[in-house]
């Protein structure tokens, strides 16, 4: 029986960062993962506009060879998925099924996990946010810098939003060049910024895990506006970049097709039971230390199976509001120039002026996802709708607002037995926004709509998406100093086990209303460091 130094389960952003830290120590590290792969690197040298005007086979690219982009969505929270990213959610129904009437989480069994579709927003949490999450500010600050150096982050060093984006705690490459309409919107904000500041609203450039200058073997972003279809030159950070590099250097062993089911501890080591996703073969791997990094819900499944299946666990999820809007001055303007589909601007609403319960809006221009996706949602006939969209798409912005999330008694996850599921169970979830939380969400939406109106934007709709659409989940195994079952020590060790660590967001006791991936990665790095310190 071989006992490996460390087994990491999961290959998303947290698994990749934990692996990089652990592999640097010379430990023998094995990563186990379902590892579904897709094509994420672009071929050829086309940009979006060239492709649209010249490529006779572009339908295969934009709609998918099997017209995946036109197929009826099977999941309410991934309606905008492109054919190239479909692999991210493949087989989740089969291996990690969820049953719910009101909570529809997005999960992944892909190599790189949900990191393949990450919007790249890289934001540090404030001291207040970190404390509410149960994280130690001084350790996290150092970890943010380590992660920024690894993955490469671009942004603006000093603007109104920089305190909320990165607080000058990380190295930055220069920010992206703004799209013309975003530039116009930003100028408008700057003229009126005093009025916004008085309301606790701050706009600036988002910090993104996107290279604007070459770094190691990765190339700077080229503004081809095919951001939802591929990753030319690996300009966007994706976890598979780290994993492939570690494997290439011989520092990491990566085995795909394994779904981790449960663990048990025996004689000073951990036995991890897995199912092969192609053959259904069961196999037990043994490790001195086990690191769970499959995402909050995946990790909770494994822990629930390993302890006692009947328990209910709490859960956190950011509410998410999607606000399409038209920036009047850009109606009918030319939109065939240089363009970027990633977040152009970030706006932070800090109502209490203490950087704790902040609600952030990521503001995108719309172009490369094509007009038909918008047309589908418009209450107009298609012929006139097409002409109408032709005019408004150059002026179209989409703001995605994340609302902060605190624990609410009514929200939980639980494993239930299922005779049809491969693992013999299904995750039952219940998540609703009620009372004060719901009022806060509505008030924040209203404040944002008014702010956008002040910036010459006509909000077309306020769409509160189905619960789970934020793809931010946490808090199922809260951090706690006390040795309590289904809790994690501040160092990431799972209480009730001696050699099992959790490197994803399961321990966070609060979800700030902003992008959390950078904090997840920083925490994963810290957990890996603690494992090394404990030998």
């Amino acid at each position: 029986m071989e006992i490996i130094d460390v087994i990491i389960v999961g290959s998303g952003c947290t698994g990749a960062m934990a692996a990089e830290t652990l592999c640097a120590s010379g430990k023998k590290v094995l990563m186990l993962d379902a590892g579904i792969t897709g094509t994420v690197d672009l071929q050829g040298n086309d940009n979006f506009v060239q492709k649209r005007f010249e490529d006779n086979n572009q339908a295969d690219f934009f709609l998918g060879k099997q017209l995946e982009a036109l197929a009826e969505a099977t999941h309410p929270n991934i309606p905008q998925q492109t054919a190239q990213r479909k692999f991210m959610s493949d087989d989740t129904d089969k291996f990690i099924p969820v049953h719910s009437n009101n909570f529809f989480p997005v999960e992944s069994l892909a190599l790189g996990g949900l990191g393949n579709g990450w919007g790249l927003g890289s934001y540090t949490f404030s001291n207040n946010e970190l404390k509410k999450c149960g994280l130690l500010p001084h350790e996290m600050k150092a970890a943010y810098q380590t992660i920024a150096q690894r993955i490469g982050i671009s942004g603006e060093a000093t603007d109104d939003a920089s305190n909320y984006c990165h607080n000058n705690e990380i190295d930055l490459q220069h920010a992206l060049t703004l799209n013309p309409s975003a530039k116009n919107l930003y100028k408008k904000y700057q003229r009126k910024k005093n009025s916004f500041h008085a309301k606790g609203m701050f706009m600036g450039r988002p910090s993104l895990a996107l290279l604007t200058a070459d770094k190691n073997n990765r190339k700077a972003y080229t503004y081809k506006d095919l951001d939802f279809y591929g990753n030319e030159g690996s300009a966007a950070y994706r976890p598979y970049i780290t994993i492939n590099e570690l494997v290439k250097q011989g520092k990491l062993e990566y085995q795909s097709n394994w779904l981790a089911v449960s663990f048990k501890e025996e004689n000073g080591y951990t036995a991890l039971d897995c199912i092969n996703t192609t053959t259904n073969e069961r196999k037990t791997f043994h490790a001195a230390k086990l690191v769970l990094a499959t995402g909050t819900l995946g990790t909770s499944r494994i822990v629930l199976r390993s302890f006692q299946q009947k328990d209910k666990l709490p859960v956190l999820c950011n509410a998410y509001t999607y606000m399409p809007m038209v920036h009047w001055p850009f109606i009918g303007k030319k939109n065939t120039g240089q363009f970027c589909g990633l977040a152009q601007l970030a706006m932070f609403y800090d109502k209490e002026h203490n950087h704790t319960n902040v609600a952030m809006a990521s503001i995108y221009n719309y172009r490369s996802l094509l007009n038909f996706r918008i047309l589908k949602q418009m209450p107009l006939n298609h012929a006139d709708g097409m002409k109408f969209l032709h005019l408004i798409v150059p002026a179209l912005f989409v703001a995605g607002i994340f609302h902060p999330a605190n624990y609410q008694a009514q929200n939980f996850i639980q494993l239930q037995q299922s005779s049809t599921a491969v693992t013999g169970d299904i995750l039952h979830t219940d998540y609703t926004y009620l009372g004060n939380e719901l009022q806060e969400i509505a008030a924040t939406e209203k404040t944002y709509a008014k702010a956008f109106a002040q910036l010459s934007c006509l909000v077309l709709k306020k769409m509160r998406t189905a619960t789970g659409a934020s793809i931010h989940y946490a808090g199922t195994l809260p951090f706690s100093e006390a040795e309590k079952l289904y809790h994690i020590s501040p160092e990431g060790k799972l209480h009730g086990a001696n050699h099992v660590y959790v490197a994803d967001g399961s321990g966070f006791t609060f979800l700030p209303g902003k992008g959390l991936t950078l904090s997840l990665m920083a925490n994963a790095h810290l957990v890996a460091k603690k494992i090394l310190q404990h030998g």
């Binding site: 006779n56 709609l63 036109l70 009047w328 107009l380 006939n381 006139d384």
Partner: protein, 132 residues
């Protein structure tokens, strides 16, 4: 080729302003509908047949369904035609703006008003014809 689907393809292509006789587009539509499996209900099939005979009603009925029954399969099928046109270099000018438009706000308001008016009339027709 599937003749009923071809007739439907011609109807939708003309409606959305595709070139007359764009056989490649029509063929792609037929293949797409066969692949996507978007079956019409009996009532929807009756409506499509009526619209093939009276194509001038299509904008009204489409707009009416947009208000009364947005997930109607006829609308889903028209959207497929729209997406196929959007990803065809011949029609790209209808989706991307190459030159700044003149009087854009006027066009915006006009286009929006016309579309809403057609929707309202269409909704009344759908109710009268009992096509919902």
């Amino acid at each position: 080729m599937n003749q009923p689907l071809l007739a439907e393809a011609k109807l939708f292509a003309n409606y959305l302003g595709a070139n007359n006789g764009d056989d490649a587009l029509l063929g792609r539509y037929v293949n797409a509908i066969e692949l996507l499996q978007l079956p019409l209900s009996t009532k929807e099939a009756v409506v499509v047949n009526k619209l093939i005979q009276m194509p001038f009603l299509l904008a009204l009925i489409d707009g009416g369904y947009a208000l009364l029954q947005p997930n109607n399969t006829i609308r889903k099928r028209i959207l497929v035609m729209s997406a196929l046109m959007e990803t065809d270099p011949k029609y790209v000018n209808r989706f991307l703006v190459q030159q700044n438009s003149s009087f854009p706000i006027f066009h915006f308001l006009y286009r929006g008003s016309v579309a809403v008016a057609k929707g309202v009339i269409g909704a009344v027709l759908i109710i009268i014809f009992r096509w919902k």
